[in-house]
C-alpha cells in the first residue's frame, strides 16, 4: 500500500501543473479518509495523533496528547481541531515540508512496522482545511534546543502545489501553569466536518488508541466541552524497532524494478545480499543461476524480462537442480508487539471488568513478511450482555474502525465456536454475543488491506490461523474463569448457609420451643460434606502488593491431608514475599506447600503477597491440590501438566540464549545466517495450561 500511495505522489510530482490539488482530493478522497463529513474529522485526528505517537516513540518521549474539538459554525458544519503533544517538535526549516508536501519522508524504502504506513499524512489535513474553509493551518512548534517556539500559518498554493507560510513569528510557549513548554507541537486547523458519537467516532478512535498505546496519556475535549482522560498506565515505551530489508518472498514486480533501476551496485550478488534479507552468498549465486543472469551483471542494466526472471527465482518458480532456492526467514525483531501485560492494562483502563486475558503469539512469517498476532479478551458485568461483543481491531497499533465485517481479523473471531466457551453465538458462527470485548492486534512490516481505505485486512491464511489459535486459547481461559466463578458462587453460598443461616435456625427454633440452642458441628459436616478451598487475591493499596490468602476447610467426617499449589506471575517479574509457610518452587510460576493433616472441622491458611506488580496485573490465583478427596474451589493437579510446564521452561531457556546472540550478529550481514528460521515457526510452546495467563 505504501508503494501505491507513493506512486500517486510520484505521479503528482511529474504532472504538477496539470493536476490541481482540489482535483486530486476529489478523486481520491475515499482512500484519503475525507469522503464524508463525519469521517473527515476522525481522519484529521488520526493523522495528527499518529504523527505525535510516532514522533514521541522515535524521540523516546512518553507522549502526552491533548485533542480538542470545538464547533465554530454549526450551520455550515465548521469545526476546529486542536492537537497538542510533548514530542520533539519540528525544526523551523522542516515545517513546510512536513505540513506542505505529500508523503514526505524516508519511510518508503525502509521496511518496518510503523503507524504512518496507513495514511496520506498531516498534509492531507492541511489540504482539506484549506479546500473547505479557505483558511491556513496554524502550527506552533518548539524544539528543545531553541528558547522560543515557532508560530506559523501553513496554507497551500493550490496552483503550484506548494506550502505557503505566513505570519511566522517566534514566541514564548507557556503551559497552563505558566511554566515554559520544553518541546512539543500544536496544530490548530478548521474544517468542514461533523462530529458524531458511537462506534465510529473520534472518541472511539482515541479510546482504542489509548488501549494499544498504554504508554500514552491522552486527553480529549469534545464539542460539548466534555473532557475525557485516558491516563498512562506504563512508563515503558514501545521497544525501538529496526528497519529490515525486504525479503524476496514478499516483493512485487514494480518494487523490484525500481530497486534495480535505483541500484548503484556493481554486481548482482552484492545487490541481492545487501538489499534483501534472508539471502546468503550461496543463495545469491543460486538465484542468479535460476534467473539465468550473470552474477557480474550490473543490476541497473537489467532488462524487464531479466527482472521478471529474477522475481520468478525469488518465488520458487525457477529452480536449480529441481529445487527452489533456499532462503532464510526474515528477522522478526523489526516488530514491536504491545505485549500481554500492557494490553491487559490498556484494556482494563478503558473497560471496567473482572476478567482480562491477553496473549502475544510468537512472531512468524508469511510470504517473506514477519508478523505477530496479539489478542485480548475482557469479560464482565460492565458490558451489555445481550449485544454483540465489541471487536477492537488494530494494525500496527492503529485502530481499524470501518469495514469490520470484511476484515480478516473479524473472520478469525467468527470462525471460533464461542458457545463452548460461555458466550452466545447464533449457530456457532459470527461475532458472539455477551458482556465481552475482543482485541486483535496485527503487528507486521507489511499490512495488507482489502482496499485503499485501509480499514479491513485482506485474507491471509497464516495470519488467520495465528489469530484463530490465539482466540481458542482465550476462549479456554474464559471458560475456565466462568466455571470457577460458578463454583466460587456455590461455595460462598454454602459458607453463608453454615455461618449465618444455620445458627439462626438453631437459635430461633430453640427460642420458640424454649429449649437450649443445639450444637451445630454435626449438621455442618453433613451439609458441607466436602473439603473446601477459598482463595482471595486482592490489591493492597498501602503496601502496593497483591495479597493472596488461601484457606482449606475440612468439612468431612474424616481426617484429610493435602498439598496445595498455586500459579503466580513469576515470568512477569512478580516476587513472592511474606510466605511464612515456606513451601517450594515446583516449576516456573508454580509454588507448592505441604499441608498438615486436617481433622474434621479444621482449617489451614496459606498467605503470601506478590510484590513488583502493579494494580490489575494479577487478579486471580488458581489453586491446585494433590490428595485423594476432591476439593471444592481447587483443581486436582495433573502431574503430566507439571512435567509439561517444566519441559516448556527448558525449551524457553534454551531458545533465549541463541536469540540474543542473533541480535548482536544482525549488524554484520556477512553470513546472513543471523536468524534461525525454525525457531519462530510452530512454536506451540505458547499454549498455556492455565488459560492463557502465561
Amino acid at each position: 500500500m505504501v508503494i501505491r500511495v507513493a506512486g500517486i505522489a510520484d505521479k503528482m510530482a511529474k504532472n504538477q501543473k496539470q493536476i490541481a490539488i482540489s482535483e486530486f482530493f476529489e478523486k481520491n478522497k475515499h482512500f484519503l479518509g475525507f469522503d464524508s463529513l463525519q469521517r473527515s474529522i476522525i481522519t484529521a485526528v488520526k493523522e495528527a495523533v499518529d504523527n505525535s505517537l510516532d514522533a514521541c516513540e522515535e524521540a523516546r518521549i512518553l507522549p502526552d496528547i491533548r485533542v480538542k474539538i470545538s464547533k465554530i459554525d454549526s450551520k455550515k458544519d465548521i469545526l476546529e481541531l486542536q492537537t497538542e503533544d510533548n514530542g520533539p517538535g519540528i525544526p523551523q526549516k522542516s515545517i513546510e515540508k512536513v505540513f506542505g508536501q505529500l508523503l514526505f519522508g524516508s519511510r518508503f524504502h525502509a521496511i518496518r512496522q510503523s503507524r504512518g504506513q496507513q495514511g496520506i499524512g498531516i498534509t492531507g489535513v492541511v489540504m482539506y482545511s484549506q479546500l473547505t474553509t479557505g483558511k491556513p493551518t496554524h502550527v506552533l512548534s518548539k524544539i528543545a534546543n531553541d528558547d522560543t517556539a515557532v508560530s506559523v500559518n501553513i496554507g497551500l498554493d493550490t496552483r503550484k502545489n506548494k506550502a505557503v507560510k505566513s505570519d511566522q513569528t517566534r514566541i514564548i510557549w507557556e503551559n497552563d501553569d505558566l511554566t515554559r513548554k520544553e518541546h512539543g507541537l500544536r496544530v490548530t486547523t478548521r474544517m468542514k466536518a461533523k462530529y458524531q458519537r458511537g462506534r465510529q467516532s473520534v472518541f472511539q478512535y482515541l479510546r482504542m488508541t489509548s488501549i494499544v498505546n498504554p504508554h500514552a496519556d491522552i486527553m480529549f475535549t469534545d464539542p460539548d466541552g466534555e473532557t475525557y482522560h485516558w491516563p498512562r498506565v506504563t512508563e515503558r515505551l514501545p521497544s525501538k524497532v529496526d528497519a529490515i530489508k525486504p525479503h524476496p518472498h514478499g516483493i512485487e514486480l514494480g518494487q523490484l524494478q525500481r530497486m534495480c533501476r535505483e541500484s548503484s551496485d556493481s554486481r548482482m550478488t552484492v545487490f541481492l545480499r545487501q538489499n534483501f534479507s534472508g539471502v546468503s552468498m550461496r543463495a545469491a549465486k543460486e538465484l542468479c543461476e535460476a534467473a539465468e543472469l550473470e552474477i557480474t551483471v550490473k543490476p541497473k542494466s537489467l532488462k524487464p524480462d531479466d527482472v521478471r526472471a529474477l522475481l520468478e527465482a525469488f518465488q520458487g518458480e525457477r529452480v536449480v537442480n529441481g529445487k527452489a532456492i533456499k532462503l532464510l526467514s526474515p528477522p522478526t525483531n523489526c516488530l514491536s508487539p504491545i505485549e500481554e501485560m500492557l494490553i491487559k492494562k490498556g484494556l482494563s483502563k478503558t473497560i471496567d471488568s473482572k476478567f482480562v486475558s491477553t496473549m502475544t503469539r510468537a512472531p512468524t512469517v508469511s510470504h517473506g513478511n514477519p508478523f505477530q498476532v496479539e489478542v485480548g479478551l475482557i469479560f464482565g458485568e460492565g458490558m451489555a450482555a445481550d449485544k454483540h461483543v465489541e471487536v477492537l481491531r488494530f494494525a500496527n497499533r492503529v485502530p481499524l474502525m470501518y469495514q469490520q465485517g470484511g476484515c480478516l481479523l473479524t473472520k478469525a473471531i467468527e470462525s471460533v465456536d464461542w458457545r463452548q466457551y460461555g458466550l452466545e453465538q447464533a449457530g456457532g458462527k459470527g461475532v458472539p454475543k455477551g458482556p465481552a470485548a475482543i482485541l486483535v492486534h496485527l503487528a507486521s512490516t507489511n499490512v495488507q488491506f482489502t482496499s485503499e481505505a485501509k480499514e479491513a485486512l485482506s485474507d491471509n491464511e497464516f495470519v488467520f490461523e495465528e489469530t484463530r489459535r490465539a482466540m481458542l486459547e482465550m476462549g479456554r481461559g474464559l471458560r475456565k474463569h466462568l466455571e470457577k466463578k460458578k463454583k466460587m458462587a456455590k461455595t460462598r453460598e454454602k459458607f453463608e448457609l453454615i455461618n449465618d443461616i444455620l445458627p439462626a435456625i438453631a437459635e430461633k427454633s430453640a427460642s420458640i420451643l424454649e429449649r437450649p440452642v443445639p450444637d451445630l458441628a454435626g449438621s455442618i459436616t453433613k451439609i458441607m460434606s466436602a473439603v473446601i478451598c477459598n482463595e482471595t487475591t486482592t490489591w493492597n493499596k498501602e503496601t502496593k502488593q497483591v495479597d493472596v490468602s488461601i484457606t482449606l476447610f475440612n468439612y468431612t467426617s474424616r481426617a484429610r491431608s493435602y498439598s496445595l499449589l498455586v500459579n503466580w506471575p513469576e515470568k512477569s517479574g512478580g516476587e513472592m514475599v511474606g510466605n511464612e509457610r515456606g513451601g517450594r518452587k515446583e516449576a516456573m510460576g508454580i509454588w507448592g506447600w505441604k499441608i498438615e493433616t486436617l481433622e474434621p472441622g479444621e482449617k489451614a491458611v496459606v498467605e503470601y503477597s506478590l510484590s513488583k506488580l502493579e494494580k490489575g496485573d494479577w487478579t486471580e490465583t488458581e489453586v491446585f491440590f494433590r490428595g485423594s478427596q476432591d476439593v471444592i474451589g481447587a483443581t486436582k493437579l495433573d502431574e503430566k501438566m507439571l512435567v509439561e510446564i517444566r519441559k516448556q521452561e527448558e525449551v524457553l531457556n534454551q531458545s533465549d540464549a541463541p536469540s540474543e546472540e542473533s541480535g548482536e550478529s544482525s549488524e554484520d550481514s556477512e553470513e546472513g545466517v543471523a536468524y534461525e528460521p525454525g525457531l519462530v515457526e510452530g512454536s506451540s510452546g505458547q499454549t498455556t495450561l492455565f488459560g492463557g495467563e502465561y
Binding site: 453460598e493 443461616i501 430461633k508 427454633s509 430453640a510 420458640i512 451445630l520 449438621s523 451439609i527
Partner: protein, 365 residues
C-alpha cells in the same frame, strides 16, 4: 363442614414444624421441613369428602442449599409472628407480613410471592387455615345480589343483619375475607339456586335485567379466579341451605380451571378442599357445544390455550366423560368464546333465551 377455631391447637401444630427442625440439628443432621407435594400429580379424589385432596407424596425441604435453608428460617420467623398475633388478638394481611419481614434479617422475604407460598406451606403442613394464623389475603371477596339474608359481625362487635337484595346498592353485598361462623351467620333466604358469574360485565347485565328476581336466584360475581372466601361462602350456602350452585363462565380453558377449583378444589388449596369445594356445582356454559349451537363470535385458540387444554386432559379433576368430550371438542374446533359474545343477538338474549334454555336443560327453569 363446620370448623372450630382453637388457638392452642394451632400453636401446637405449628410447634411440630419447629420441633422437626430442632430435633434434626440435635441429631447432627441438616434441619428439614416435610410437606405434601403440591402439584397435580399428587391430588386424588377423596371419596368420603367428595373433593380432590393431596395424596401421600411428601417432599422434604432440607437445609443443604442456601435457598431452602433460608426458607426454613423464614418459616420459623412466620411461626413466631403468628404466635405473637394470636397472643395479641391481632391479624395482618399477607402483604403486611411481607413488609414486617424486613426486620427479620436473614429470614426476610425476597418477594410477596415467597411469603404467600410460605403461608400456604404452613397451612398444608399443619392442616390449619390461614384464618387460624390470623393472616388475611389482599384480594377482596365476591359481590353478591339476591334475596339472601346474612348476619355479619362488624368492627364494633355487633351483629348486623343484611339482605343482599334490599339492603344493598347495585354493586351488591361485599363478601368479607373471613366467612367462618365467628364472623358470618347465614340467616334466611328465598332463592332456588345460586349462580356464580365470571365477569363483572355479565354480572351487571343480569342485575340490570332483573334476572335474580325473575328466576329467584342469588347472583355471585367471581372476579376471575375466585378468592377463598368466595368459594367458602358458596360452599356454606350450598351445605347449610342445600342450594344448587350453577357456574356461568367464559368458554375457554382458563374458565374450565375456575370451575374445577369451585367444584373439586384447587391444586394450590387441596389441603383444605373440604372447606372450599362444592362438589355438586354444575357448569352451565359457555360450553364448546354452545359456540357451535349459538354460532357465537369466537377467537382462535392461542398456543397457550392449547397447552392448557392438553394439560387438563390429564388432570384428574377433568377425568369424567363429559369434560373429556368438551375439552376435546374445543381442541377440535380450535375456538373459544366469551360470555359477553352472547350480546351478538342483543342485550336481552342472555336473560330471555340463553339462560332459560340452559337452565331448562338442568331442570331449574
Amino acid at each position: 363442614m363446620a370448623r372450630v377455631n382453637d388457638p392452642e391447637l394451632t400453636k401446637a401444630r405449628l410447634h411440630l414444624v419447629v420441633e422437626e427442625m430442632y430435633d434434626r440439628i440435635v441429631k447432627g443432621e441438616p434441619p428439614t421441613m416435610t410437606l405434601p407435594v403440591r402439584t397435580k400429580n399428587n391430588i386424588g379424589f377423596d371419596k368420603k369428602l367428595g373433593v380432590y385432596k393431596y395424596g401421600k407424596k411428601r417432599s422434604t425441604r432440607d437445609a443443604t442449599s442456601l435457598g431452602s435453608a433460608k426458607n426454613l428460617l423464614r418459616a420459623l420467623h412466620v411461626v413466631e409472628f403468628i404466635e405473637e398475633m394470636i397472643e395479641a388478638g391481632k391479624s395482618s394481611t399477607l402483604r403486611e407480613m411481607y413488609y414486617i419481614s424486613e426486620s427479620w434479617g436473614l429470614g426476610k422475604f425476597g418477594s410477596q410471592n415467597e411469603s404467600n407460598n410460605l403461608a400456604e406451606d404452613l397451612e398444608v403442613v399443619t392442616t390449619c387455615l390461614r384464618e387460624d394464623f390470623k393472616l388475611r389475603p389482599e384480594e377482596d371477596g365476591a359481590r353478591m345480589i339476591g334475596n339472601v339474608t346474612i348476619e355479619e359481625l362488624n368492627r364494633r362487635g355487633q351483629w348486623m343483619t343484611i339482605n343482599a337484595r334490599d339492603d344493598v346498592g347495585d354493586s351488591g353485598y361485599g363478601v368479607p375475607y373471613n366467612v367462618e361462623v365467628e364472623k358470618i351467620r347465614l340467616k334466611e333466604h328465598d332463592v332456588n339456586f345460586l349462580m356464580a358469574i365470571e365477569t363483572g360485565g355479565m354480572f351487571d347485565r343480569l342485575v340490570e335485567n332483573g334476572f335474580d328476581e325473575e328466576y329467584n336466584c342469588g347472583l355471585i360475581h367471581l372476579k376471575g379466579q375466585p378468592a377463598r372466601s368466595t368459594r367458602r361462602i358458596m360452599k356454606r350456602m350450598n351445605e347449610e341451605w342445600d342450594l344448587p350452585v350453577i357456574v356461568f363462565l367464559d368458554g375457554d380453558p382458563w374458565s374450565f380451571r375456575i370451575f374445577a377449583s369451585i367444584a373439586y378444589g384447587a391444586i394450590k388449596t387441596a389441603h383444605i378442599s373440604e372447606y372450599l369445594a362444592t362438589p355438586s356445582a354444575s357448569y352451565l356454559g359457555i360450553t364448546a357445544d354452545d359456540i357451535l349451537a349459538y354460532d357465537l363470535p369466537s377467537d382462535e385458540l392461542s398456543k397457550k390455550d392449547i397447552e392448557a387444554l392438553n394439560a387438563e386432559l390429564s388432570d384428574p379433576r377433568f377425568a369424567d366423560g363429559w369434560w373429556q368430550e368438551q375439552i376435546n371438542m374445543m381442541l377440535e374446533i380450535g375456538k373459544k368464546a366469551e360470555q359477553q359474545s352472547l350480546a351478538k343477538y342483543g342485550l336481552d338474549f342472555v336473560t330471555d333465551t340463553y339462560l332459560p334454555e340452559k337452565l331448562g336443560e338442568m331442570g331449574l327453569a
